[in-house]
């Protein structure tokens, strides 16, 4: 938003020393507030922990009441998930393809566009920028039917490229906003200095713009990957057996009966693992990305 916001996003543990005045009063109240923070944090993470724990229990132990917290651990749930019925590998690979390819296309389209909206802005660049955001506000369900009919006529139903096309359009506005926000950080003086020195476009891009923007590209890629990986509605309508993605595969558990809880938890954990890993590895990028780059 403005330069008043800390330029490096909060890194846990180390950032407290950054000039924060030490409060000496109310030590007692502080202990209780810290305790409260821990309790709230544990409550929020509990369903995730429960998912992992249940996935490691046998089906019989997973379906007990009261819960069998200390039941022996087993990998049966995962074994059943990977080799029990339909293999989850094709859907997982489809999700990976759709997410990675669409993210790459989004980056290739959004970088030049953001350049034309910030470094060398076209006229009415704000209107253009808001056009991109406005497409994000259109309910996606309104585009579902035409896309389905288009796919039916062109034979693209159940084709992963159709999903890639849709995910690109879904994430492109976000990426343009984020990349523009990061490109705006490039100091004008540096650009001018580079121009004075006779640097050509490629050299300016490489030596002035790239160092500032690279972290921004990482944040954008992370967000686009997560949103594509998570998407369900379009994947469910536009794919069947061939191009089915991981979230669609998970919906087979919606109406499950009998003993399936451990397997369900294993499936949920496996499908969430890429997002959990990427998100935890880049927590600060997550904040930048989710706020469309307005929180630095």
């Amino acid at each position: 938003m403005s330069s008043s916001i800390t330029d490096t996003a909060p890194v846990p543990a180390t950032r407290d020393d950054a000039g924060r005045p030490v409060k000496k009063r109310k030590e007692g109240a502080n202990v209780w507030l810290s305790l409260l923070a821990w309790v709230v944090g544990l409550l929020f993470v509990l369903p995730v922990v429960w998912m992992v724990l249940t996935s490691l229990h046998s089906e019989a132990d997973a379906a007990t009441n009261p819960p069998a917290v200390f039941a022996p651990l087993t990998l049966d749930g995962y074994r059943e998930f990977f080799s029990g019925g339909a293999s989850p590998w094709p859907p997982l690979l489809n999700s990976l393809t759709a997410s990675v390819v669409s993210t790459i296309i989004v980056l290739l389209l959004s970088l030049p566009a953001a350049y034309a909206l910030s470094i060398k802005p076209v006229r009415k660049w704000t209107d253009t920028l808001f056009f991109f955001l406005s497409t994000k506000m259109l309910p996606v369900v309104a585009g579902l039917l035409p896309l389905y009919l288009f796919a039916q006529y062109t034979g693209l139903l159940d084709n992963i490229w159709l999903l890639i096309l849709f995910y690109t359009s879904m994430n492109l506005p976000i990426a343009v906003w984020m990349m523009r926000s990061f490109l705006s950080e490039v100091p004008v003086e540096m650009l001018e200095a580079a121009q004075m020195d006779g640097a050509n476009l490629v050299k300016t891009l490489r030596s002035v713009i790239a160092p500032v923007v690279t972290p921004g590209i990482a944040a954008t890629a992370l967000i686009c990957f997560i949103f594509s990986w998570n998407e369900l509605l379009f994947a469910r309508v536009l794919t069947a057996t061939v191009a089915e993605t991981a979230p669609v595969f998970l919906t087979s558990f919606v109406t499950s009966q009998g003993l399936f809880l451990a397997q369900l938890c294993a499936a949920a954990f496996v499908v969430s693992l890429p997002v959990l890993t990427a998100g935890f590895a880049a927590q600060d990028k997550l904040v930048q990305g989710l706020s469309l780059g307005s929180v630095k």
Partner: protein, 317 residues
């Protein structure tokens, strides 16, 4: 919506055609065009198609009866009780999730904006719900937490009642008893981290020297919160509410998974999905979509005004 795009693309130099100037304008525009043209084709063309289909009599089950229907579809949508319920459900669901997660997020952000042992660990734990794939999260809530027989909630009730020696703990059927709240709670769990992260970033951008000065002048914590922290956080609260609304209005995964749209939880995306995917009534689905888009445009116009005020500080060069 479209008008903005037309203005930008159809724009030509208003001054007498100086070829050089025009060439340089196109050189500036060139990097933008692939993305812009792609977005116009992929988002505006389908809407035109939806608009056309909304005036047609078109049900995939009766392919021979396709034809012009006039305003029939719109009349059917407006007189459909399910659609009216869906609008109401969408409003309740969105407002409920955004407000509750914003308030919770604010409280937790304030807790985490202090120095204490394990702050990084608590922050990491708080983010976890947001990183579970939405369908997976909804499945976990439906089967592993809400289930009346072996879900964690009723299991915990049994355990707590057991501590006091009671054999008859309450075992409510959470989803049947309060279907909409069941969906709302699972979404609040997923979206509170999002709000918390944005508000925490806002809190850490406060001018601390001014706050310290106020404290030395004798202001108490509540006064500082009311008159300094909250005004500073306003734009972050607005940002969180806006982005949260954009995503939650469109929610499909939780409604589809937890209740399958039953028990009065069918929101607009789910209802339109049903008209199209199960009833195969393309005309009616399109009419509903057109109405939703028009409603969204009206709301979005106000929302966009908020965003533009949020971003206007960083004016162009």
């Amino acid at each position: 919506m479209t008008s903005v795009a037309e203005k930008t693309t159809a724009e030509t130099a208003p001054e007498p055609p100086a070829t050089a100037r025009r060439a340089s304008a196109w050189a500036r525009r060139a990097p933008l065009l692939p993305a812009l043209i792609f977005m116009i084709i992929v988002t505006q063309l389908p809407f035109v198609a939806t608009l056309v289909i909304s005036f047609m009599d078109w049900n995939a089950y009766y392919p021979d009866e396709r034809g012009f229907a006039g305003f029939d579809n719109f009349v059917r949508v407006f007189t459909d009780v399910n659609m009216r319920d869906a609008v109401w459900t969408t409003i309740l669901l969105t407002a409920g999730v955004v407000l509750i997660s914003l308030l919770l997020g604010l409280g937790i952000a304030l807790l985490l904006d202090r120095k204490f042992r394990g702050r990084g660990a608590v922050r990491t734990m708080m983010i976890a719900p947001f990183l579970v794939v939405p369908v997976a999260a909804a499945l976990i809530w439906k089967h592993a937490l809400y289930n009346p027989e072996y879900g964690l909630f009723n299991g915990a009730l049994t355990w707590v009642w057991g501590l006091f020696g009671s054999d008859h703990p309450p075992q409510p059927d959470w989803i049947s008893n309060m279907p909409l709240w069941a969906v709302i709670f699972s979404l609040v769990w997923q979206w509170t981290p999002f709000m918390m992260l944005i508000l925490l970033a806002g809190l850490q951008g406060r001018p601390l020297d001014v706050i310290e000065a106020a404290r030395i002048d004798g202001a108490n914590s509540w006064q500082i919160f009311r008159s300094m922290t909250l005004p500073h956080l306003r734009q972050y609260l607005e940002l969180g509410a806006l982005l949260g609304s954009i995503y939650i209005v469109q929610n499909f995964d939780a409604v589809f998974t937890i209740t399958s749209g039953g028990l009065g939880t069918a929101n607009l995306p789910y209802t339109i999905y049903q008209i199209f995917y199960q009833a195969h009534d393309y005309g009616r689905a399109s009419a509903a979509a057109v109405i939703v888009v028009i409603g969204t445009i009206i709301i979005a116009t106000f929302a966009l005004r908020t965003v533009s005020s949020l971003f206007k500080e960083e004016a162009g060069r």
